[in-house]
Amino acid sequence: MEIKTQKIDGILKFYEKIKNLSKSNTIIKKELVELNLKKVQVILNSPHYTYWVIFGNGIFNYGKGEIENADIIVKSKFSLMKKILNQKKMPHTEFVKKNLQVEGDVQYAVVYFDFINFALDQNKKKELE
């Protein structure tokens, strides 16, 4: 049981990476300052797992569980979210196919995923340098 929980919690490692990048990478840092502060609640199923992300106004943070007054709620299968975070699936495409559900203003969900992809791309570039 312990091993299973650790495996599920592993998804948060992506966010830890982005959190660190948002502090260390100047380009990402600057872009994060420009974005409006938004709270995202993520609800995954199979297995059920919830976490939240706050981004914008120069802040990037995340945590397990629920957050009050989320601006958008994103729902998907656990496996799909992992693929999105691994950049193997496009969130836009999955949203239109209804595999990813968004409650709230969809434009902020687009911004949220675009920011994550942007940060991961910047990181890849740095690694190649």
């Binding site: 409006n36 239109v96 969809v106």
Partner: protein, 257 residues
């Protein structure tokens, strides 16, 4: 060389404050006015029809009235206008927008929720004598075909400019995803894609087929620069939509001067 046309999304996009330091809410008259004051080339917003056939400018398909959530097309215009945005402004109508910028050389691009609202926009634009300033776009999240959205509009008016925002359902955009037959039959002039799906090859292909090429969703400086620099046969990308239109304008001045 003709510069890229810059559209302010829902007016002036994100993170704008007026002189009194009040936050400017998207899709409000203040947001539209701020965008024009700052010099954007055009305004992009979403248009919907009320129950009594007025064109409402609102991104949300539904509104909450006394705790009851109803689709906009089931609510009368007076009721919608009595509802307030976050900044206490009323929800604007198309007529509010056209009245405010009467006589100014501004273009408008509307995401339409169906043929009915498109036809109403055309009628009102004709009343204001600004049909040449109007573009009607199928939304990229609308699962319906171009024909379902545009056929009635094209039958109603032969001149209004129509834009195909390519569905987000395709992982990669190629000729097969552009509904080319309908584009030619309905005289759709623009292909608009999310920047995540755009590349030089697609730009080239679209231009070779004789269409205008637009990008939407641009946010980050680096990607803005990349696409502002892109040119084919001496032409830049025709248009870009952004929630940071002023940033895009500054970069355009640097890159496309």
């Amino acid at each position: 060389m003709k510069k890229t046309f810059i559209w302010g999304h829902r007016g002036s996009g994100f993170r704008n404050y007026n002189k009194n330091d009040d936050y400017i809410v998207q899709n409000s008259m203040k947001s539209f006015q701020f965008a024009i004051e700052k010099g954007v080339d055009g305004i992009k917003t979403e248009a919907r029809l009320s129950k009594d056939n007025e064109v409402i400018l609102c991104s949300s398909q539904k509104l909450s009235v006394n705790g009851v959530v109803s689709p906009i097309n089931e609510l009368k215009c007076d009721l919608i206008k009595s509802m307030k945005l976050e900044n206490d402004e009323p929800i604007p109508t198309l007529r509010n927008l056209f009245d405010m910028f009467k006589g100014l050389d501004i273009k408008y691009n509307f995401d339409i929720s169906g043929p009915g609202v498109g036809i109403e926009i055309v009628k009102i634009a004709k009343e204001y004598c600004i049909l040449d300033k109007i573009e009607l776009a199928k939304s990229s999240v609308d699962p319906r075909s171009l024909k379902e959205i545009f056929l009635e509009i094209r039958n109603f008016d032969k001149n209004v400019l129509l834009a195909n925002s390519v569905s987000l359902r395709y992982n990669k955009i190629g000729k097969a995803n552009l509904e080319l037959k309908s584009m030619y039959d309905l005289d759709v002039k623009v292909i608009n894609v999310n920047y995540n799906f755009a590349n030089y090859e697609l730009f080239k292909m679209v231009k070779d087929m004789g269409f205008k090429f637009y990008l939407w969703g641009l946010l980050f400086k680096e990607t803005m620069k990349k696409f502002l620099k892109m040119n084919y046969n001496g032409e830049f990308i025709d248009g870009m939509f952004s929630n940071f239109p002023f940033r895009l304008m500054e970069l355009r001045e640097e890159i496309q001067a």
